[in-house]
Amino acid sequence: MGVGIEVINLNAWYGTNYTLQDINLNIPANHATALIGPSGCGKSTFVRCLNRMHETNPIARVTGTVLIGDLDIYKDAKPVEIRRRVGMVFQRPNPFPTMSIYDNVAAGLKLNGYHNRHALDEIVEKSLKNSALWDEVKDDLKKKSGASLSGGQQQRLCIARALAVDPEVLLMDEPASALDPVSTSKIEDLIFQLKSQYTIVIVTHNMQQAARVAENTGFFLNGRMVEFNSTHKIFTNPSDKRTEDYITGRFG
């Protein structure tokens, strides 16, 4: 089951670059929340603060509080622990090139010391089914490498890999932007189904996609969150003129 995320006064820097300013936000559990905004507005940085991937850059700095459920992820836990509870899917599919499909899905578990063969088989199957890839690969699990699949399949493989560690939150950074329309639709349908089990945060450039999959949407601009509301409100009658200018394409 998913948990809610509460963000309080989050500020983030890359060196001297003040990337996120005073972000306050409540992301409800078991819903999909979309984050939209122009390039460079900080939405990807924000999402990376939610699983402390922001810190993999040595010049990155964060202040503020992020609560995942009841856990203060910056005070009460280590990055490695957080990342097992908050999974991430990236813009370009990145399966491990030296591993088979099976090993890719099981990677998060195997690399953390989990080796129970039977249980792994079950988890791999369940994850691949949850990411709507099982039928296409069930005969080639150990024979084909993860990198030999098509783009859309690779992305679903990455989703399965993220799901296999049983996270509570799934962060998706423009998951379909490198995919064709059919694959995109499949991913969107998937998000719809996954919502009931996980809390999903999806960064997207594609507003129609946000409108299709997310109940709530946040609009980021220049490092600030300008408006956060139900997707319906944002796209039919947003409160802030800047939001409206962005979604109607009137941006300068």
């Binding site: 699983n51 991937m53 993999t56 040595p58 490695v80 622990e81 957080i82 990342r83 097992r84 509870r85 999974g87 991430m88 990236f90 370009r92 990145n94 399966p95 491990f96 090139p97 030296t98 591993m99 088979s100 990677a107 998060g108 690399l111 953390n112 024979k143 084909k144 490498s145 990198a147 030999s148 990455c158 890999r161 993220a162 560690v165």
Partner: protein, 293 residues
Amino acid sequence: MGGHKLPTEHKLRARIRTLADGAATGLAVLSTVLVVAPLVAIFVYLIYKGASSLNWAFFTHNPAPVGELGGGMANAIVGSAILLAVGSLIGVPVGISGGIFLAEFGRGTKLANAVRFTADVLNGVPSIVMGIAVYSLIVVPQGHFSAFSGGVALGIMMIPTVCRTTEEMLLMVPNAVREAALALGVPNWRSVLAITVKTASPGIITGCMLAFARVAGETAPLIFTAFGNVGWSAKLSEPIAALPLQIYVYALSPYDEWHRLAWAGALVLIVLIVVAVSLVRYVTSRGVLKGAS
């Protein structure tokens, strides 16, 4: 296509382009031939000069006393194998660890820059100087020549190549792969070893083989360390024969018999290097999955 005629000027330009294209292709082929030709020539010449001296005895007998016919280089072949084994045991782990440090843990730090600089300097040290250095550091305190000191000399010479190649191959692993592992909650050290290094392993192995092939033929560092041995020896604490060393000694000798053996030895040395490298390639490629790049 309709009958759209090109003006004459365009035709001329097109013809020049085709000629230029052909000329460039020709130059490329010629260059390739020029590069490969010496290699082939050497190989052919070695076969011509050395193959006739190859017999079963060559591989099983030690050198015969001066003046006698026959004999072989069995001890040198085994000696080279031992020296290279010791050298690899030193050079490969140290080099790979250094490469991993440079690429994954120390990127941008002053320490990494210092390490890299040291490796580059080490690479430039003449092999004879390397031999003298190991002589002072190991042979003199121990009081005798030894296979061990020869192995150390070779090992140190392997380090820069292995280290730099490892670093380069690791840097070529796309960051996306590292991020994927980190995002799964895998600790950094584990991600480096299990994922990044594994992804770069074909390149790293190539680096090791390059270093191996280079030191397999080194003679100068062995002169003051392994020293050579006319008899049989497989002990690390004793002087040991080595193929390149033996070839060198025999080639400089005044005896025709020894010259014959030197040619044969040179041929065997090259063939053994090729075989060793191919074997490693074959064994490691068996593990690669279908479809992986």
